[in-house]
Symmetry: D2
Subunit: 102 residues, 4 copies
């Protein structure tokens, strides 16, 4: 199985990573950063695991299911946190995270 | 400046990372792995720095030019090594790397 | 809970990452690289997940148990592969990996 | 040149990464998070590049000087930001960062 077989999941991971990093960046610029502290933290966790899994899939890792399960749990937590905040970047992030929850 | 502004470079980095990881994976499966040792090594270096820069751009890093310069140097070295090998995955990798050499 | 609480596991992860990266580097320089292909692949997987978990612990990730479980599985696979090879770097790597298998 | 040759720098990088991640975690828990936004951002940048360079040295990267230069610049920026804040975690972080500035 090569990286082509995972093309769809790789694209979703990539979009989620991008959105989480953007949300992280935007949260740090918000007026009320304190309210966003957990969002900042989970955005980073989520971006990092999505980036990790994306790279791992691309290099033919034998640990797809183990890593995908962790990634889904982190995406779920991040999405749940983002959903609480009305900022566009948070709402968009919640949507992207949801796509990776199994 | 937000992640939208870097959309084009982010996509190129992403494509390069994907191609390097695929080349790494394919090189490890080649009949003559020994000949591919330097290619395996540089594919990893290049995939890692492209992934790093892509994430950094996405989170609004203040160190764009410094990181982009290192990335260009690693892409150049990886592309030069890949170019030496006739495998399709190496030739494709050489092409992608070249796009990131300034 | 802060990073001090995980000091012992962090040190073990760090030692394992270092040993895996050294084994990866040494395997790529071996005379018979082809025999080492799976070792090279798993050394990278293992170094990457150990580095990831180490950083995650250090930044107070809420996903300790999920990540630790994946890490243990990858360490086990890497240790099992390394154990097959008589090179000193492989045997040392097998030992370090074993310390992280739950 | 193997990973033993870089043992001292690897340990300094490791200590800096740990301290930056701890400072990042602690800043997110501070009462006045807004004041710490730039510190949070730079702690992450600095932890990530230190972790990256540490791994790269461990696997015999051919790009030591290029990566070390970027790392020194990011450490300098992070240390300068941390120095402005009186929290213990910031002051300790400033000290560690300074050790990596060439």
């Amino acid at each position: 199985m090569s990286h082509e077989n995972y093309q769809s999941i790789i694209e979703t991971l990539h979009e989620c990573m991008t959105t989480c990093n953007h949300c992280y960046d935007a949260c740090l610029k918000e007026e009320h950063v304190k309210m966003m502290a957990q969002c900042i933290r989970l955005d980073r966790e989520c971006a990092d695991i999505c980036a990790y899994l994306e790279q791992a899939l691309g290099r033919g890792t034998p640990f797809v299911s183990e890593l995908a399960q962790v990634c889904a749990e982190i995406c779920e937590a991040c999405g749940n946190e983002c959903k609480k905040h009305s900022h566009d970047h948070c709402q968009k992030c919640a949507e992207e995270c949801k796509k990776l929850v199994s």
